[in-house]
């Protein structure tokens, strides 16, 4: 039962990555400042495993880097043409499932889905669009929910449940009908105790949970991903520091 600080390593695209016991591949990679694409993963929360963007090859087999524990001697591939092509396809699928009309979205330039697509060189969403018609929830005095942009990452669900202790959000339905719901009898955000101090108000990686009366305040050229591609941020928490 040695409690010594272990310095086991695995290789990620031929780089040697040290890890501590219990760390997942993506945690160890981020600690070593190596970016693995991800949308539903956030270091402050338990992994969700829905977006599949962090898919890597471990010893030749695909797995999610956000759930797979690092082990000594693993051979992990991430930045390969094959994996990036699959990630691009996943991103395209997310784009056609929702109404991602970036030209009119307040999150444009600060959106992780959009920035990931840029980084993967996505020129078009390729597939036929679904054009969903989910109602907008503008009932809350300070926040708006545009559910047609939701990628079901569940970060708001996890933040509200595990950090805020409020359980404001949940995912409901099955298959393509899966959608974000608000835990109130009316189903309206106004009938919850959700507010701007909540962690859940700030974790949405896309343009679903938006503060009212605050759109388009950052000039083009100065938005998060105008400055640097998402791969330069490595860790999602680096994005939160801009929130003020």
């Amino acid at each position: 039962m040695s409690k010594t600080f272990t310095l086991d390593t695995f290789t990620l695209d031929n780089k040697v990555i040290p890890f501590e016991d219990g760390q997942t591949i993506i945690q160890a990679a981020q600690a070593a400042k190596v970016y693995i694409p991800h949308l539903c993963y956030h270091p402050d929360f338990k992994p969700h495993g829905s977006c599949k963007l962090c898919t890597v090859k471990v010893n030749g087999r695909q797995t999610a880097a956000c759930t797979m524990l690092a082990a000594a001697g693993m051979v992990v591939e991430s930045e390969t043409d094959e994996l990036n092509a699959e990630r691009r396809t996943l991103t395209q699928m997310l784009f056609v499932e929702g109404n991602h009309f970036c030209p009119s979205c307040e999150k444009s330039g600060d959106c992780q889905l959009q920035a990931t697509a840029y980084d993967l060189g996505m020129m078009t969403a390729h597939f036929d669009h679904f054009f969903p018609n989910r109602p907008l929830d503008a009932s809350h005095p300070d926040f708006i929910l545009d559910l047609n942009r939701c990628i079901l990452c569940s970060l708001c669900v996890r933040a509200s449940r595990d950090v805020d202790g409020k359980n404001v959000f949940a995912l409901a339905g099955r298959g393509i009908k899966t959608h974000l719901i608000v835990n109130a009898k009316s189903g309206k955000l106004a009938d919850t105790d959700f507010n701007a101090q909540d962690k859940a108000a700030h974790v949405c990686p896309v343009g679903v949970i938006l503060p009212k009366r605050k759109g388009f305040v950052v000039p083009i050229g100065e938005r998060t991903f105008d400055k640097l591609p998402i791969s330069e941020y490595v860790d999602t928490r680096l994005l939160d520091s801009d929130e003020k």
Partner: protein, 188 residues
């Protein structure tokens, strides 16, 4: 005769057709934003059917640039003409690629939209929905162009920057596979 004969040895210019379907002409304006580079471009290409020319129907072309999605029957007709005539068809801008902001009308039933605009909107009296056969019928929904014809390349942006358009055209003219890096690829 000593007069110099004008030989047709100059490299054959590429023919380029452009059109705006359910577009706002913004992508064409962004194209013109290549500024002085237009002169260089005109050394290599010749415009066929385009809002820049007076040619009514596209002839055989090397490159077709399409701005705008499909919102009515005439759009579909023109798009098919372009696909028939152009070796390479390029979707330019958000509308051609995913329907763009005009596709925000998709969740609303078309009769409700027409009634609002022509019948019940504020300030209308005795309004009627235009029904002359001269007018193309609107489609139920706005569609990206790749849902109707095969599209060879896509230049995203609303509009794409002049540099992005220039990059893709330069690549195509040089016979290279077009590629846009960070900074040139954007959707907004």
């Amino acid at each position: 005769m000593d007069a110099p004969v004008k030989h047709k040895t100059a490299k054959k210019k590429l023919k380029v057709a452009t059109t705006s379907l359910a577009g706002c002409f913004g992508c064409h304006m962004s194209f013109l934003d290549i500024d002085e580079r237009l002169f260089e471009l005109l050394g290599h290409i010749e415009f066929d059917r385009s809002p820049f020319t007076d040619i009514k129907e596209a002839g055989e072309c090397d490159i077709g640039l399409i701005e705008g999605g499909l919102c009515n029957a005439e759009n579909v007709h023109v798009l098919r003409e372009f696909r028939r005539q152009c070796k390479i068809l390029v979707a330019v801008g958000a509308c051609a690629i995913n329907g763009g902001l005009p596709a925000l009308r998709n969740p609303i039933p078309l009769p409700a939209i027409l009634a609002e605009v022509y019948h019940t909107g504020i300030g209308l009296s005795d309004g009627m929905i235009p029904n002359d056969p001269e007018l193309p019928l609107p489609l139920n929904k706005v569609h990206p162009i790749h849902e109707v014809v095969k599209v060879d390349y896509f230049i995203p942006g609303c509009p794409p920057s002049a540099d992005a358009i220039w990059q893709v055209l330069s690549d195509l003219m040089a016979g290279r596979e077009p590629a846009l890096g960070h900074g040139l690829i954007h959707y907004d």
